[in-house]
């Protein structure tokens, strides 16, 4: 199994890379390929089992867009053909049409999804997140954290990754969190999403990475922390916005 991590030298904020570390703990045989800005990506010549990209800085977004621009058609082909992508935090915005700060356009995105990212230069939006992932036979509770300079705008009614119970979706008026196109999973939830959500991780490994029935790493400890967080986040007395 090959997991390609795009630009870990810049897309590494808020503990996001632990998503990959955790997958590696769960799947010791997996090969992790780190692709730097100046490298030719692995996906350019073959279909990795998973392409991961994490949160970056605002200038990092511009660099990532520049680096991926020449592979835009290939990325589209990968998404259309069902290659797995997991993109967290503002890494997702790189795949949008454009990024706007205040009233001013910062740059065009890769334009692969019909969304626009709008941010305020000095304002930070922080919240907890509680939602559901529709796993077919069951709904899996998702917990996480959001800490962003802005939001995404566009219609994700038919391509929502998580259904929000508490917290915001892609923007404060939208209850759908993240985007899901074929096997492209993008979410504004930052940090170690997979570590914090072991039930989802198990489903993802078994159903998307097709690794069979796996025992996820440190399952008992991860489930203990997860169950406590689900309980806290479900408590109406827990504040949700910082």
């Amino acid at each position: 199994m090959k997991i390609e991590v795009l630009f870990p030298e810049i897309c590494n904020l808020y503990g996001d890379l632990f998503n990959v570390n955790y997958l590696k703990d769960c799947l010791p045989e997996a090969e992790v390929i780190n692709t730097s800005l100046s490298d030719e990506p692995l996906f350019a010549k073959e279909n990795p089992d998973l392409i991961y990209m994490g949160t970056t800085t605002e200038s990092g977004q511009v660099l990532a867009i520049e680096a991926l621009s020449e592979y835009k058609e290939r990325l589209k082909e990968c998404i259309d053909s069902g290659v797995n992508f997991l993109v967290t935090g503002n890494g997702m915005e790189i795949f949008f049409k454009e990024i706007i700060e205040g009233e001013k356009k910062v740059c065009d995105g890769l334009g692969l999804f019909d969304f626009v990212a709008k941010r305020q230069a000095k304002k930070r939006y922080n919240s907890l997140y509680l939602g559901d992932f529709d796993a077919g036979k069951e709904n899996i509770k998702i917990v996480g954290f959001k800490s962003l300079f802005g939001f995404a705008y566009g219609d994700n009614d038919n391509c929502t990754l998580f259904n929000t119970q508490r917290g915001d979706g892609l923007n404060p008026e939208c209850k759908g969190e993240g985007i899901k196109f074929n096997n492209f999973f993008g979410t504004y939830i930052i940090g170690p999403l997979l570590v914090l959500n072991p039930t989802f991780t198990k489903w993802y490994i078994e159903n998307k990475l097709n690794a069979g029935d796996v025992k996820i790493a440190f399952e008992e400890a991860a489930m203990d922390a997860y169950n406590l967080r689900v309980k806290e986040f479900s408590d109406p007395g827990t504040g949700f916005y910082y």
Partner: protein
Amino acid sequence: MNKIRFFIALWAAKMSIIALRITKHNGTNFPGVVALKICPNFLKYVSKPAKIIGVTGTNGKTTVCNLAIDMFKADGRKVLDNSMGSNIDSGISTSFINGVSIFNKCKYEEALIEIDERSVPVLFPYFTPEILLINNLTRDSIMRNGHPEFIGRLLTEEMPKATKLLLNGDDLIASNIAPDNKRAYFGIKKMDTDVEECINLINDMRICPKCNSILKYDALRYHHIGKAYCPSCGFKSPKCKYEGYDVDTKSMTVKVSEEDGEYTYRLLNDSVFNIYNVVAVVSLFRELGYSKERIAELLSQIEIVKSRFSQQEVGNYTIVRQMSKDKNALGASRAFDYVSGRPGDKELILMMNCLGDTQHWSENVCWLYDADFEFLNKENIKNIVVTGPRAKDYYLRLKLAGVADDRISFVEKELDAPKALKLEKNESIYVFYGTDSIVLANNVIKNIEKEIAERGEK
């Protein structure tokens, strides 16, 4: 109208100081809060000392300020400071309120102000530091500060043109702030403990700021702190005017070289973090015109603030208080690295939970995954007690760091944590606590003392 509003605000704030004194309340920010509530432009109108020295950055600014304040006191110099209040607008307003008469006449010629780096947009429009020392810019609270590039951008955009910057030249994020301002750099020369490849989870300066190629480091201390160069375009860390070297941990001294020679100064703590703090203070006082000899004299007369790091001997044990600012991955990593490198067997109590967050919502734990818990996977760390609201998260994180089950103890309530200590003879017990759990940490330490007494010395 604005002036009338200002004087109402000033007098209300002055009265609140008297009320706080009478009722024996601390309320160190309260007068500033009152003033800003009545007059949002209060900082514009309040009289300020003619010369303001600012200290900002992510880590170490309080230590640097405390050192500088103590040195000014030892020198008999009357300098207004905000050490009793906070470093945001309300705390700084409180200091200025204390510094003026009821007629808004300033009683001080000079001020040394610790400045929260995130607060500069509401501060710098109203005062211009003559010198601003920036110790470092690293990751801090995810919710508040985002990432250091954002803070760097904020500082550059808000920086008054007349401010001279005194910057850590070994920090490429801090050293690139406000490139058009006058500046001098301080740093530390290559040390024996330096490496060339980063071993930390956080390194926010992996690519060249000029050409985006992967940077190399001649000497990397930790994270992005060190001497970098770009093999592609030739970019490199700036030349430092003041550079620490020849650290002697036995005599606890450091030499600082300048163009016209070197001088030896006293160290107050042997962690690299604190060596930077001393070099920063020496550089600041040199920029203020002090002689090397006088700085060395003043440094020899002061002590590091005890609330941040102190130790006590209890029977055969050493109990060490180790403050580790909550939700600050880099601060935790530095503390973990330092403690794990100390000689002898040790047990740790991890209780850096953000208690404020626990009361209102739930702590964002992403920072745990930026912090190097891997440093705690060491043979001489015999037991790590995780406790408090986020104990289960610490437990999981330690497991991910490879720490064996038999070296982790889970205790729900902090005050019960001492019961889980193994208390092997001659070991050290480190209590890691956050900025809002100082009182709780003191009570935990009392319970450790009781536990030692009850179990008897082995």
